[in-house]
Structure formats: structure tokens, C-alpha cells
């Protein structure tokens, strides 16, 4: 999976916007949106929010967790705990990037948030690598991927799966086979 495909999935997440135009309810396959009234907050998917924002039709209200204090708390928890801590949004990385790139004027302390999210990401990826390594070394049979986000899994997916395949094959070598049946050529 390409990261841009993950980003595409993230664009289905809802955010709150404050529009500055009025429009009736719009009916889409994915659900009804609106009605839009100037000054009244309404929930829309990220793709629409960004589109409206680019046309200067709305102001984006940052999600609750996109806040320096909350992110600092998450970062500290992430550093303290050995397992993956709970993350408020399954698309935190993608949403941060999308919202900060397109609507940084609506988000207070955008630069600090960017650094914090990057810190959280780095901590989690380091953890992921550590647990992948111990998964291989201890030759475990299964792992629980609680609280991991799609983007994180996506960075190591093919690598880890290929390694596990190879390892499985090398391990089946060790089984004494019921052979005696030699191949005929």
C-alpha cells in the first residue's frame, strides 16, 4: 500500500468546520452533509473541509486532540510505556499533515504540533521496530497489534511479511520429513 492511499482513507475522517456560506443539505452516497449556515459549526469529511478551505469558504476547527498540551501528554505516555499507548485518532499522522499543510492559519501553535506529532511518530516507530525484532528472535507465533495505526503498519508491512515468509521456510527445513520418496527426474 502506498502512503498516499493511506492518506486517501484518512480523508474520510470527520472534522468540524465553520462555514461562511449557506447551503441546503447535500445528499451524497456516503451520507448527507449539512445544512451549512454561516457561523454554525458542522461536521464534514476532511476532503470536503480542505476543499472548502482552499476556496476560503470555511474555517476549520482543529480536532480536540490536536492541541499542544494533549499531545505533550500523549508523547510522555508513549515514552513511558513499553507497549503502544492509546492514540486519539487512528489517522493522527495523516490528519496532522493534511490540516497543517492546508489550514495552518486555523490551528494555534501549528509548528509545535508538527514537532510533537513527529516525536510521537518516531517513538512509536522505534517501538514497532523493537517489537518486530523480538518477535523474530523469540520466534513467536502471533502478535497483538493494539493501538497501531494503519500508516505505522504500512511502513514495515512488506518487509516484515517477507521476512516471516523466509523464516517459515527455513524453519520447515528443520522438520524431519517423512521422505524416503526421492524425486524422479
Amino acid at each position: 500500500m502506498d502512503p498516499s492511499e493511506v492518506e486517501f482513507l484518512a480523508e474520510k475522517e470527520m472534522v468540524t468546520i465553520v462555514p461562511n456560506f449557506s447551503l441546503d443539505k447535500i445528499y451524497l452516497i456516503g451520507g448527507d452533509l449539512g445544512p451549512f449556515n454561516p457561523g454554525l459549526p458542522v461536521d464534514v469529511p476532511v476532503w470536503l473541509a480542505l476543499n472548502l478551505k482552499q476556496r476560503q469558504k470555511c474555517r476549520i476547527v482543529p480536532p480536540e486532540w490536536m492541541d499542544v498540551e494533549k499531545l505533550e501528554e500523549i508523547r510522555d505516555k508513549e515514552r513511558k510505556e513499553e507497549t503502544f499507548a492509546h492514540i486519539p485518532s487512528p489517522y493522527y499522522m495523516e490528519l496532522t499533515k493534511l490540516l497543517l499543510n492546508h489550514a495552518s492559519d486555523n490551528i494555534p501553535k501549528a509548528d509545535e504540533i508538527r514537532t510533537l506529532v513527529k516525536d510521537i511518530w518516531d517513538t512509536r516507530v522505534a517501538k514497532l521496530r523493537l517489537s518486530a525484532d523480538s518477535f523474530i528472535t523469540l520466534q513467536e507465533a502471533h502478535a497483538k497489534l493494539d493501538n497501531l495505526t494503519l500508516m505505522e503498519i504500512n511502513t514495515t508491512r512488506t518487509f516484515l511479511l517477507d521476512s516471516l515468509n523466509y523464516m517459515y521456510k527455513l524453519r520447515t527445513n528443520m522438520q524431519p520429513r517423512s521422505d524416503a520418496k526421492s524425486q524422479d527426474y
Binding site: 502512503p3 523474530i136 508491512r157 517477507d162 527455513l170 527445513n173
Partner: protein
């Protein structure tokens, strides 16, 4: 996104070979030290070191893996296959001490593949070989992973050099993942670029052919 004009067949790795895998074809040319257990009349021309017409019983010679696999049979003793030195006990000790220091490309480059293939020859040390090959892979995994996922935008030839062909394939996969993520993060993923197929496509013109 990584686009290729064809899908290469991956190596079989285990005791089975993938018929269409280029890696496995190259692997089948690895030389194995063998000892003939019966005479091969009129095949002396295969053995360059002597001028005899026949290959006599008990001759030591090297054979490619594909030939040894074809001739070997457990019941009819035609030839016995000895272990290449990387799989013998001395080297097995080295691998169990620290698998990361060994340059597997120089020793292999098909260390894992050949090690699995050797199990066809019913060597008494089969169990130890299989164990060592697996442990070597596990022991070197961390280094392969770290080097693949941390080396962004730098010269990787030094990192790749000591890797077995199997580990190289893994390294490439890991690098693809890292590069794709970095490209996305820098915001370059949204730029559309022409597919490498289109860029490399050249329409042959009749004038070029005739010139």
C-alpha cells in the same frame, strides 16, 4: 509507487526450488564437492584434472548442484556429496557466535538457499545445518531491518555488501517502504510523474532502423 514492467518470481528458499525464479537458477549452479561412489565410464572428459577415459570410483570432484541432485539417490550409491566449508562445523561455530560479522555475500551468495538444498543429500549433520541456517537468519535480521529502514537518501552499497541475496531482496523491500513514506511526508507523493514504462518507451521509427 513502485512500478515494474514484470513481476520477478521470488526464490523458493526452502527445499523446493521455483522453476521460474532467476535466483534459483543461479543457485543451481553453485558447486558442491562430491565423491563418486561408482565408476562413470567414458566420462573422463568432464574431469579436467586427469587424462583418463573413465571417471573411476572414489574420485573427488566438484559438481553443480543441479547435477548432484539428479545423480544422487539414497539407495543406489552413485555419489556422495560433501559439505561446502561454510556449512561445516567450524563455520557453524562462527555463525552461532555472531552471525552479523560474516560477509555472507562472499561466502554465498546463496547461503540460505544452498543450505536448504543441501538437506536433499541426507547428510548426518542435516539437523545442525538447518538449525544454523535458521539461527543465522534470525541473528542477522535486526541489522538488515535497521539498515533498510534508516538509510534514507544515502549510499547504501556498504550496507548491502555483506548481505546474502535473500537479505538483499529484503533490504530492497524495506527501502521501498521507507522511501515511499518519506516521499509522502515531504509532500512529493502528490506530484504526478510519468510512469517509468512511458519514459523508457521508445517507438522505433522506420528511418532509424534503415539508417
Amino acid at each position: 509507487m513502485e512500478t515494474q514492467s514484470y513481476m520477478p518470481v521470488p526464490p523458493g528458499v526452502g527445499m523446493e526450488e521455483n522453476f521460474l525464479s532467476l535466483d534459483d537458477i543461479l543457485l543451481s549452479h553453485e558447486r558442491l564437492p562430491c565423491r563418486t561412489e561408482s565408476a562413470f565410464p567414458r566420462l573422463g572428459f568432464l574431469e579436467k584434472s586427469s587424462d583418463n577415459r573413465d571417471i573411476s570410483e572414489g574420485t573427488k570432484m566438484e559438481m553443480p548442484l543441479w547435477l548432484a541432485k539428479g545423480l544422487y539417490e539414497r539407495t543406489r550409491r552413485v555419489l556422495s556429496v560433501e559439505l561446502p566449508k561454510v556449512y561445516r562445523e567450524g563455520w557453524r561455530t562462527v555463525f552461532s557466535a555472531d552471525p552479523t560479522v560474516v560477509d555472507l555475500h562472499k561466502m554465498g551468495p546463496y547461503y540460505y538457499g544452498l543450505g536448504s538444498q543441501l538437506l536433499h543429500f541426507h547428510n548426518p549433520e542435516n539437523a545442525e545445518i538447518a538449525q544454523t541456517v535458521l539461527q543465522t537468519f534470525i541473528g542477522r535480521f535486526r541489522r538488515t531491518m535497521d539498515s533498510a529502514q534508516n538509510a534514507y537518501n544515502e549510499d547504501t552499497s556498504a550496507l548491502v555488501e555483506p548481505l546474502d541475496s535473500l537479505e538483499r531482496a529484503l533490504f530492497k523491500v524495506g527501502q521501498n517502504g521507507l522511501n515511499a513514506f518519506q516521499r509522502w511526508e515531504m509532500g512529493r507523493a502528490s506530484h504526478l510523474t510519468a510512469s517509468s514504462l512511458v519514459v523508457n518507451y521508445r517507438k522505433r521509427k522506420i528511418t532509424d532502423l534503415q539508417a
